[in-house]
Amino acid sequence: MDSLALKSEFPILNQEINGHPLVYLDNAATSQKPRSVIEAVKRYYEWDNANVHRGVHTLGSRATDAYEGAREKVARFLNASSSREIIFTRGTTTALNLVASGYARQTLQEGDEIVITPMEHHANLIPWQQAAKATGATLKYIPLQPNGTITLEDVEATVTERTKIVSIAFASNVLGTINPIGRIAEIAHRNGAIIVVDGAQSSPHMKVDVRALDIDFYAFSGHKMCGPTGIGALYGKSRLLERMEPIEFGGEMIDFVDLYESTWKEIPWKFEGGTPIIAGAVGLAAAIDFLEQIGLDEIDRHEKKLTQYALERLSAIDGVTIYGPREDRVGLVTFNLGDVHPHDVATVLDTEGIAVRAGHHCCQPLMRWLNVSATARASFYLYNTEQDVDRLADALVKTKEFFGYEPVR
C-alpha cells in the first residue's frame, strides 16, 4: 500500500497549516474524504437527486436505486444475510440509541441486566444508563485490566443468566484495545443475552463479518471511514429487528394510516421515518468501494505497522506516558507529555501543522479509571506515513522543550 500516493486522493490533505504541511492525526474523530466520495455526492446532487420510494418519475427511481443500492453495499460490507438487516442512521450514536430505545426499553424488565465496560464511549454508555433507569434493569461493568483490556474470565463472571444485553466497543477510541467480540458473543448467547457492538472504531480499519462473529446488533459511522458526516448504519438480525419498535414516526415508515391507528412498513423501512439521508448513503457506498479497492486487510496491516512505529518513537521520548495495551490494538496512540496539559500539547502541535485530539474523548468514566482529566491522542489512517509519525515525535520534543521548567524566555 502506497500511503503517500493515497494522500493525493484526499484534496484536503494538500494544504499548509500555520506554515507547515498538514499532518492529520485526528482520524478517530473523523477521517478525511477521498475525491471519489466527494465526486459521488456531487454527482448524485447534480444528476439523480429526488426523494426516494415515492416518485413515479425517472429521477425518483434513480435516487431510490442509489439509496437501496447503498444498503445492499453495506449489507455485503458487513456480510449480513440480507439488506433488510441494514438500517441507515445518522451515525453510531443514533444507531445505539435506536437499539436502547426501540429494543432494550421494550424488552427489559426489572431485575434484568445490561453489561458494558468502562472503556465505552459515552454513546455506548448513556443510552444504557437511561434504558436501565427506565426499565429497572441493572447496569453492570466488566472490569478493566491494568493495561486496558478485559479478560474472558471477567466476562464469564459478569454475564449471568439475568443478563439480557451485552454492549461493547469492538475497539476502544482511547485505549485502542480490540475486544474479542466472537468469544464475548459466545458467552452472551450461552447466557441467553444478545450482543450489541459499537463498531465506530472497527469498521474504518478492519474487515468485520457480523455473521461469523454472531453479532446481534452492530453500529458504525460513515464519516470515520472516508464517508460523509451524517450517515451510518445499524445492522440487526432480522428476527430481532422484527421485534424492535420504531422510535420515529412519520412519512416513509408507514404502511397504512387511519385517524386513530397506523401500521408500519416492513423492516428496515419502518425504522427510517422521514426523508432519509440519501446523498449520505451514496457517499458511504463510494467510501466502501474506495476502502475495498485498497483492501481492509491491507489497511489493517498498514495501520498496525504504523502504530508500532509510533509506539516506539513516542515511548522513546522521556516523559511520554502511553495508555492502553501494546499489542492487538487499532491505529491510535493516546498519551500525555509529562505534566503539560493535553490542550497545551495540542495547541503547540497545531502551530507545527499537526492535528491531534486533546480532551476526554467522550470517555469520562475511562478518564477517571486512567486517573487523568484528559489526554492527547494521535490516530492514524491509510494516508498516514512514517514521516507523519516522525513529524509528531519531533514536535513533541519541541513541545517538551517549550514547556521545560526553565523560564520560557
Binding site: 503539560v340 490542550h343 503547540v348 502551530t351 480532551g359 469520562q364
Partner: protein, 150 residues
C-alpha cells in the same frame, strides 16, 4: 514574537506552575462549580463577599495552563474589589478575549492572556474562571452553591 511565545508568556507559565489562591476558604463563602464539558476543564471558585466587597477568593480545579493561570490571576485581581468593580474586570476580560485590548492597570499580568484571542479554540479555557466569577457575584449575597455546565 511568534504566536506561541505570545500565548505562553513567562507570566502565564509562572501562574500555572505557581498558582496564587489555590485551595479552599474556611469562612462562609459563595461557591461556584463550573466545567467545560467539551474538554473536561473544571473549576471550583469560592469567594468571601462581605458588604459588597470580595474579601478573598480561592479556587481548585483541573485544566490546561491557560485556564488555571487565568484563575490564578483572576482570584488575585478581584481581591479587595467591590462586586461592581469585579464585574467590570470581567467585562474588560471579555474585551481582551475579543482582541479589543484592555488595560488592567495595577494587575497587568492579566494582559499576558491577550495572546489567547489568536487561538479561538482556547478562549473557552481562559474565560472559565471569569464566568465563575460572574456567577459568584450574581449569587452575591445569597450563600448557596450552584453547579453549572458552561
Amino acid at each position: 514574537m511568534n504566536p506561541l511565545d505570545d500565548l505562553y508568556r513567562r507570566v502565564i507559565m509562572d501562574h500555572y506552575k505557581n498558582p496564587r489562591n489555590r485551595g479552599t476558604l474556611d469562612v462562609e463563602s459563595v461557591t461556584v462549580n463550573l466545567n467545560n464539558p467539551t474538554c473536561g476543564d473544571r473549576i471550583s471558585l469560592q469567594m468571601q463577599i462581605e458588604d459588597g466587597i470580595v474579601k478573598s477568593a480561592r479556587f481548585t480545579g483541573e485544566g490546561c495552563s491557560i485556564s488555571m493561570s487565568s484563575a490564578s490571576m483572576m482570584t488575585d485581581a478581584v481581591k479587595g474589589k467591590t462586586t461592581a468593580e469585579a464585574m467590570q474586570l470581567a467585562e474588560k476580560f471579555s474585551s481582551l478575549m475579543k482582541g479589543e485590548g484592555a488595560s488592567f492597570d495595577e494587575y497587568e499580568d492579566i494582559e499576558a492572556l491577550s495572546g489567547v484571542n489568536k487561538f479561538p479554540a482556547r478562549i473557552k479555557c481562559a474565560t472559565l474562571a471569569w464566568n465563575a466569577l460572574r456567577k459568584g457575584v450574581e449569587q452575591g449575597q445569597g450563600k448557596h452553591e450552584e453547579n453549572v455546565d458552561q
